[in-house]
Subunit: 335 residues, 6 copies
Amino acid sequence: MKIGAFGEVMLRLTPPEALLLEQTHTLRMAYTGTGVNLVGNLAHFGVESYLLTALPDNRLGDAALANLKSLGINTRYVIQKEQHIGTYFAEMGYGVRPTEITYQNRKNSSFGLAMITDYAIADFVETIDLVHICGISLSLNEHSAEVAIAVAKTAHEQGKKVCFDFNFRPSLNQEPDKKRVMKERYQEILPYCNVIFGSVRDLSELLEWSMDVSSQSAKIRSFQAFLSHYQIEWFAGTTRHTTDEKKQLSGYLLSPTEWIETERYTLDSLDRIGAGDAFAAGILLGYSENWSLDRSVEFALGNSRLAHTIQGDVPLTTRKQVDQLLSHPTIDLNR
Amino acid sequence: MKIGAFGEVMLRLTPPEALLLEQTHTLRMAYTGTGVNLVGNLAHFGVESYLLTALPDNRLGDAALANLKSLGINTRYVIQKEQHIGTYFAEMGYGVRPTEITYQNRKNSSFGLAMITDYAIADFVETIDLVHICGISLSLNEHSAEVAIAVAKTAHEQGKKVCFDFNFRPSLNQEPDKKRVMKERYQEILPYCNVIFGSVRDLSELLEWSMDVSSQSAKIRSFQAFLSHYQIEWFAGTTRHTTDEKKQLSGYLLSPTEWIETERYTLDSLDRIGAGDAFAAGILLGYSENWSLDRSVEFALGNSRLAHTIQGDVPLTTRKQVDQLLSHPTIDLNR
Amino acid sequence: MKIGAFGEVMLRLTPPEALLLEQTHTLRMAYTGTGVNLVGNLAHFGVESYLLTALPDNRLGDAALANLKSLGINTRYVIQKEQHIGTYFAEMGYGVRPTEITYQNRKNSSFGLAMITDYAIADFVETIDLVHICGISLSLNEHSAEVAIAVAKTAHEQGKKVCFDFNFRPSLNQEPDKKRVMKERYQEILPYCNVIFGSVRDLSELLEWSMDVSSQSAKIRSFQAFLSHYQIEWFAGTTRHTTDEKKQLSGYLLSPTEWIETERYTLDSLDRIGAGDAFAAGILLGYSENWSLDRSVEFALGNSRLAHTIQGDVPLTTRKQVDQLLSHPTIDLNR
Amino acid sequence: MKIGAFGEVMLRLTPPEALLLEQTHTLRMAYTGTGVNLVGNLAHFGVESYLLTALPDNRLGDAALANLKSLGINTRYVIQKEQHIGTYFAEMGYGVRPTEITYQNRKNSSFGLAMITDYAIADFVETIDLVHICGISLSLNEHSAEVAIAVAKTAHEQGKKVCFDFNFRPSLNQEPDKKRVMKERYQEILPYCNVIFGSVRDLSELLEWSMDVSSQSAKIRSFQAFLSHYQIEWFAGTTRHTTDEKKQLSGYLLSPTEWIETERYTLDSLDRIGAGDAFAAGILLGYSENWSLDRSVEFALGNSRLAHTIQGDVPLTTRKQVDQLLSHPTIDLNR
Amino acid sequence: MKIGAFGEVMLRLTPPEALLLEQTHTLRMAYTGTGVNLVGNLAHFGVESYLLTALPDNRLGDAALANLKSLGINTRYVIQKEQHIGTYFAEMGYGVRPTEITYQNRKNSSFGLAMITDYAIADFVETIDLVHICGISLSLNEHSAEVAIAVAKTAHEQGKKVCFDFNFRPSLNQEPDKKRVMKERYQEILPYCNVIFGSVRDLSELLEWSMDVSSQSAKIRSFQAFLSHYQIEWFAGTTRHTTDEKKQLSGYLLSPTEWIETERYTLDSLDRIGAGDAFAAGILLGYSENWSLDRSVEFALGNSRLAHTIQGDVPLTTRKQVDQLLSHPTIDLNR
Amino acid sequence: MKIGAFGEVMLRLTPPEALLLEQTHTLRMAYTGTGVNLVGNLAHFGVESYLLTALPDNRLGDAALANLKSLGINTRYVIQKEQHIGTYFAEMGYGVRPTEITYQNRKNSSFGLAMITDYAIADFVETIDLVHICGISLSLNEHSAEVAIAVAKTAHEQGKKVCFDFNFRPSLNQEPDKKRVMKERYQEILPYCNVIFGSVRDLSELLEWSMDVSSQSAKIRSFQAFLSHYQIEWFAGTTRHTTDEKKQLSGYLLSPTEWIETERYTLDSLDRIGAGDAFAAGILLGYSENWSLDRSVEFALGNSRLAHTIQGDVPLTTRKQVDQLLSHPTIDLNR
């Protein structure tokens, strides 16, 4: 299966050694974004991977493009226009000090300004077998929302699989009217989708879907009603647990007939940003290769745990690494 | 004399060791801008210096503010609102390879979005004796142009000195209508001004002022007609000369009655960005301390030559350094 | 309340990535010291903050001054004379390997050589409402001890609040006679003080104050006798606990009538140097704003826990950060 | 025209800031080689570019591959086997201090060990229109020589263009018998070639071709006799001149009927390694697009001059940059 | 006692901050190897230490030599010939992500190519009192195996002590015949040895020695039979334990009459490579100074635990550091 | 000939990339000093080299010692006591901006505090054949002056050669009385000396020796009178020339009967600090190997020119490098 993603490429700037912005004159530079993370990771799994996005038509766009290529992503459908790339600064936390993300102008980025007519959507959809769309495209601005929905619709109509990641950030969508618009956009895209990444809160708060969480079985029934309603094949996500003095992570994956939840694994986290995308990449690998739910979610969670230990957003993991973690979890040195 | 400036603070990101963006994952981070460069340099000369500007209300704004303070700039009139700082990347050139500047979104920066009502203009003008305004404020967008003109007008009315730097970049002003608007804005601000930084081209192309350059004396007469028209006290600028295989720099300064031009000095340049602001800072120091034109322009050009040898935009030069260069130009080691 | 501190500024040099001095040719440079840490932190809390100190009259002094300004410290009372700054190297430990601090000449630093007549003590005391004095000034040499006592006395006489930090390092005071001198100096300064940072050991070993630690209530009575004797309002400190394989920290604060001790918090420590000063800054914030003892010590300890997670000595924490830690202790990512 | 190259990928390790190996614990890492440099540069000119090579089947091979992709090179014909990559250390010189290159084991590299049967030579040749072969392949060892000759022969037979770069290093070929073998190998490959990069010394010393250099016209006649003999279309090279205290570079290009030599340009050199490959890339661009000899050699030399100003071997130049240098040679800042 | 080692010097290249090779252009460079680690550590303990090895006769060899000297190793018996140094890349792991070691060509290194006649074996053995030989020399190739056995034999015959470290890596010895050859070589060297570092698996798998591990006493009896057979004085090693979510380490040391095993210490590991050599260095210190088994193994394990917290392979620990860990294990800051 | 030096080891801290102290948080660390530079360079020439000095008895002293060893210096006579190492910061200049050296406390360094009884002077002198003494020892303080004179006297009495470098810095010796004391100390040491490094100004200003510079022959006569007076064998030095826009360097060497002066070589200087010591090392090599004056001074000046192109003070040049510069001055790349 050839897999493509539609999503923004961002520039990430990170002070070294967990320093604060005031403490250093040096930054580490990387190119990232949900789509990049996902198809970059899939390319490392050996999947032929494509990205549909817009980069600036300047030296930053050139550098971003070189970086996408180095990840093994096919960049045939990446366009270059306008002059701005969405940027964020990540001051890495430590212990009780949280990581601080500071976003710079995204709405006026090349991706934010790109119109539906700028992209070769039909060709892109023709090329790939499955497309991943990030929910942030729905909330960034009207242009990106329009493209996202068009990509989903076109793919669905051509019999291609569609995967959608809720990725809903309430903080970015605080105007009351915005919330209504967002719900409509999400409702518009869901009928085209085969695989969904989301959470109880996404369904209940954003979509106002009735979720009964009084018991585990009630919760599963609520989820499966949602799946039936939109004819969704797979629904997956991760849960973070904070007990005592440790952080843990588990994953779940459900189909209309099955519910699989992993055990909770303790995290020793170097950089958790992008680790959710690693989970998604694992699930899509299983989906595209017809793995069982069980195998898929275990692989995906192992991949996500490894992604927590890699600097930066893009999960540079391979199948071999994930398989080794699952089969020999205590190895700490490969010679 | 207390000197203030109105201008944008930008984030500058520079790859180390003249590397290209594709060749490194590391950037050097600094905060800069014509106003910062000017009052930062004046603070190093011992002048009480103020900046009127708008920074983001986030961690980047905090870091920028810390940086302004470290330069010795009084930041009482710096406001923090919105979320974006104008940014540029400087890939440093070498030999025949030019330095490449790539700007990221400036129009939607905190500075670009700040309204006239956001600033404490009256208090700022009351505090200072001379204000410097950068021409880029006139071309950035309507908000910044409105503030720039208001600052100049208020200062003029209160008997404070006004200094204006043409800083006109044709590349940023290419729409035909834009050019007409710009000319009107420049014509509106000039009557308030005492000191101007500019060039023949600025007067002839932007203002369509009739400049006769058929002879040196004709050129001087044209300039002095301009000074008379707008009742300007000092007009200054630098000229770059490229002869054979070397780059040279000279400076000029004229009053309604005098014309001084320095000899041409060969440049051994490490980073020329900001060197024009160093010249301006030198001229303003002479102006504020009632130096002769001759002393002022020699000091200013020496300061600018030193600024070519300092990494980054902000000229961190001191009076002692400039004086040593002028009196002992061959010293290359101070123990 | 305006808060000032009298104390030494030191240059700190740290190898990157927990390397040893033999393993690297690169050092990270920062400017630090109890006074810097304290008023730098208070400036981040929005308090108008001053430092009374002496820096070298050379490029290192210039660089130190720029750094103090960037922290938001008002440097009006910082003098520059002589040529030397006290320096220390911090080889960061890891796990069972302790951090190694190597001091370079402090007695002959600009601070150590500055005389009482070099400082504008009267103006400084006039400007501020509360002054913090570090006990190291009493042990560094006669000059610094004389200034420290004069500052405390002048402040006390003018009705300003005085805060004193024992900061007694037995290793620096090993000659028998030195110990007697130190006791006399401490006894001389205590009557001027309102707030004290110290420990049981400081009182019993240095001052030879009779401390009954046979029970918690006996210990509190001993402390309160000490407070009564010197008419001290607040006495505070932290305690480190090592149980099993974890390090924990608690804080205490007592007034003549109250005793508050926090619970023990587990530390995940990146750099503990300066974390004691963060506790002091928190206490002084509470004191200067008339908070309850309870609120003050919880805030101070939260601040100190955050300081353990920040590279370098100076706690760059804000009220918002500390409040978030106290109210939402498990958040590890702010977007 | 699609252009491919057969050649070794090497790891280059460079101390920063012109430091010696004993002076630093840090190295800059890059992947390079004549073939990489050439097709990497052509990819930046917009040419569809391929590399035929062998990389280690380990993490270093993975990293090298990611790097080739980032240059825009199509890596379909890159194989991964064995465990070693040829490596060199470049201690950058300065002024009178020469750059020192230290090679590590190349003969046993994955490239050196790869057999003719490991490569998909037929498919590779089928895909491309012109292939570039580096002379080092002929001297590295028997395996690489066999592959190089097979690639040239196959391409010639299929009517594809063949370009060969003498790249003969006497220092690597000092055994007497080795010299005879080398001459035979060079004689074997030349009949398949359309474009040659070489020098007078290559022809006279290596091939023992009779070169009459008593006059410019005699030299040209000797060259053209060589071209006739092997039915070569273009022959090109550069000449370094050291006069007084400056270094200069000129280029030449001849066909059976024409001889073009550029003027001498003064070099301001940051890193000359790879600049010869930049010249070759420029010539091949002209050849593949049917430019005149004059335009081709001027473009190629401009490209090579720019390559002298870029850190590392790979010339990351674009057509736009070269065109700007040729048309506006004094521009030193692009905003 | 003067202690010498025979073993390979390798170049280690490590990306900073636990980055992967694809994520950085910067590497940290160090020189290492079992022999270097061991005698480098012993030199830090104040022991006169020698290394018998072969380095390249080029700039890398020069840099390696400077590095050995800086460790305090006497380099009189280090020869320089050939052009290649064995190299490995260490991508540091984190949490569940294992450290990845990638070796580059070792068989053709200067050490691998050095012949028995290249070394001054007799003089070397004459100079020292105890020699350490690393088992890797037996498996690298015939040349190094021949030298290793000759060194052991010569030392034994001259009444010098011989220490041998099994250091057997099955992964490097996978051909069936290779295994037989290896067993013979190990059997050939053992009769010359006084001190052995190894494990149950080394004895049972490599030597096919009958090891009864059904009970602790049976295991000890098996070991002691081995010691009797080869007249070995001391046999030592460490054991890694993975329980729950922590890693632990214990050490053992046995003589023909005693068996000492330490408790299990939890590891907080920064870089475990070389920590086994630190254990060996501690044992040899005890052996050479006639310490009790108990004191020796406790010191050795403390040394190894510290080595886990030091970047790089070479344990730069001192006696003072180890003694402090054993006597005051909770100190985390030395001022 | 075995050569030793008596002199201070200093810590040098240098911001990267010609940045100013305010512009970076990173410093490059090295250990240096006239004695280190000289014997470090001689060790690279293959001379057995010793240093007599005092380092701190702490981690900085340990690191300095490791660094001396890495240069190949025999450190048997280096003592460790006290806690402070003399330090200087070098802000590297560029073009017209001079390099700025900022010294930190030297008088109270371990070297400054070491007494004559701390050193094993007799053993040191016994070991070596020639000793080099730096004039700074005479001006640092009484302790170091006493040791310097004692070393010279002891060596002279034992028939060892003594070399003395005036190294007189008027700026460090400005008190009138100091000047008289200095003259006496210089006069005291000169009778013991065989080789002197100095200048016309040293003789005329410091020693008030009558120098007739009205003509070249008069100047030579004045010098030779000085040599006769003190029975000095060789007197050498360099002269800097600044003509037009270039810097040049020449060297001279005279014996009682000969005067040799080199031509002026243009400098392309990366770091001139330590280049005078490189000249001295070259002269001493020639002296110790009985070269002609001509060969000695040409080698020494070539060595000094190379030292100008090496970062840091210590000239890491080899005979091979110097010989190549003298015989093939235009080679800029060694493969």
